[in-house]
């Protein structure tokens, strides 16, 4: 009997002498509200322009959902054509959150114009977007995104931390594109030839790029990313913002 008594009751559980204590916790089937739709985006600014580019592939796991699902959006313009917009937003990560965010910012920018009779300034819109994201601090809108207008480029994290930058890559292939950008935009690890030996070498100074150079870098970055990342491909959406307005172009990428 003492044997039985010693065996009895593990905590509050049923203490049958023959029962094996099970360490397995109650299985919980929880719902995960996010998914990763893959893809990558890239933004570069020069002195009088800004480029935002992204691929148009939408994935879930190893499946390709769609080959034409653009992720660079015009904000504050006409609903169908995007005409009159001066701001461009790109969201990469969970596409449903991306669309919801785009629609919210679009509404806010339009309401601002109706209320104040002037378009929202880029810096004001940048701060407003940060506030939108921070409002959802405890149920964040996932993944990195960036946003720009008229030569200014801002990048954000899911909870609204933001920064103005010269260039930024985000999304699935960001780790492949960023070092390329470091080298080709900010001239990292590049030195003035013949300026000295070892530490005396003079680093090459970064200077604003021309529009054609920047567009070439974007194309090269994406063709390379497509080679090495399965979630990137199909088409390149290239959106260029200048003081004259927004130009948009699609170019084919590899579809494998």
């Amino acid at each position: 009997m003492t044997m039985l008594l010693n065996h009895a009751s593990h905590g509050d559980g049923i203490g049958y002498s023959f029962a094996q204590p099970t360490a397995a916790p109650v299985q919980q089937h929880s719902f995960y509200p996010y998914t990763d739709n893959g893809g990558s985006t890239l933004g570069i600014t020069g002195s009088d322009f800004a480029i935002l580019a992204g691929d148009t592939r939408s994935t879930s796991g190893y499946n390709i959902n769609s080959r034409m699902a653009p992720k660079v959006f015009k904000i504050g313009g006409d609903d169908e054509t995007g005409e009159g917009a001066q701001i461009v937003l790109s969201v990469v990560g969970f596409a449903a959150d991306g669309n919801a965010l785009k629609e919210r910012l679009d509404n806010i920018v339009k309401m601002y114009k109706y209320k104040h009779g002037k378009p929202m300034s880029v810096s004001a819109c940048a701060q407003r977007l940060s506030t939108i994201l921070y409002e959802k601090r405890f149920f964040p809108i996932t993944y990195t995104r960036f946003w720009e207008g008229k030569g200014a480029l801002y990048s954000y994290d899911p909870v609204g931390s933001y920064e103005r930058e010269q260039c930024r890559a985000a999304g699935a292939a960001s780790s492949l594109i960023t070092p390329f950008l470091d080298n080709q935009v900010n001239f990292k690890n590049q030195y003035v030839p013949g300026s000295g030996e070892g530490h005396a070498l003079e680093p090459k100074k970064a200077e604003p790029l021309s529009r054609s150079t920047a567009e070439g870098l974007v194309r090269d970055a994406f063709t390379s990313a497509v080679e090495r990342h399965i979630e990137v491909g199909d088409y390149l959406q290239l959106v260029t913002i200048t003081k004259d307005g927004i130009e948009e172009a699609f170019q084919p990428l590899k579809k494998d």
Binding site: A8, I14, Y16, A69
Partner: protein, 260 residues
């Protein structure tokens, strides 16, 4: 001596410990809404010149049990829109009721029901996204077929997370693995939709349903198919997959108990 007859014959508390009542009262949030119960499998759809075809089989499974074999998973909306449902069947019935009441409301308005498939898809995607944001998802993956505002064929998908995408041909569930490669081969991207006839699209979907019946364990050989054109919806709900043959199976090598 135990003076309480009610406890006679029961496991003694001093030997076996107090009875564990914990299973009777569940603590924490409701969890039965966060997993599907009775489910439908793939939905497949193709655009063609002047319309869209959508197809599903007629099975509702309860886990691996083929529970209901006569379930209509294609639901019509208005004159020119159809929704194909995959996933939880009770959530499908809820959404169908939602759409029906919206259709009635629209028809009583002065302008009549003018909502097209594109509007319907936007609405459904927002319902899904709202419910996922409340952590109370509607466990479905749907295809919406019909016409957009410009009268062009429309085919788009929405799922329980609110994710949306569209394309010339789409499939949910197992169909995304088995039907999409067939459809991509038959209708490559460089081939314009205007080039695809209704008959070709319908026969492609029938082939896909056959492959799905061969290889998707949660499928059945009875199916529904809806052809949506400007003239309206031609919905057949009691079709049978025909000309199946496992003759190819004996030529398959590489796995199983074959010795040579």
């Amino acid at each position: 001596m135990d003076h309480f007859p009610g406890t006679w014959g029961r496991p003694r508390n001093d030997v076996y410990g107090a009875y564990d009542h914990s299973y009777l009262h569940t603590t924490g949030p409701k969890t039965h809404t966060s997993s599907p119960a009775v489910t439908g499998t793939s939905v497949i759809g193709v655009k063609f010149n002047g319309g869209v075809v959508l197809a599903t089989d007629n099975l509702a499974s309860y886990g691996s049990l083929a529970r209901f074999t006569d379930v209509k998973r294609l639901r019509t909306f208005g004159e020119n829109a159809v929704v194909g449902f995959g996933g939880d069947v009770s959530d499908m019935q809820y959404i169908d009721r939602l759409l029906e009441s919206m259709d009635i409301r629209e028809n009583y308005s002065s302008h009549g029901n003018m909502l097209n498939a594109k509007n319907l898809h936007t609405y459904l995607a927002k319902v899904f996204y709202k419910r996922r944001s409340e952590f109370n998802p509607l466990w479905n993956h749907v295809l919406v077929a019909g016409f957009d505002g410009e009268g062009k064929p429309f085919l788009s998908s929405a799922d329980l997370l609110g994710t949306t995408f569209s394309g010339p041909h789409l499939a949910t569930g197992f169909g995304a693995h088995l039907a999409v490669p067939i459809l991509r081969r038959l209708f490559p991207e460089e081939r314009p939709i205007e080039d695809i006839s209704k008959e070709e699209a319908v026969s492609a979907l029938k082939d896909c349903l056959k492959v799905l019946f061969y290889r998707d364990a949660r499928s059945i050989d009875k199916y529904s198919i809806a052809v949506i054109t400007k003239d309206g919806i031609d919905l057949k709900e009691d079709e049978q997959i025909e000309n199946q043959s496992w003759a190819f199976a004996e030529r398959i090598k590489g796995y199983g108990a074959q010795t040579k």
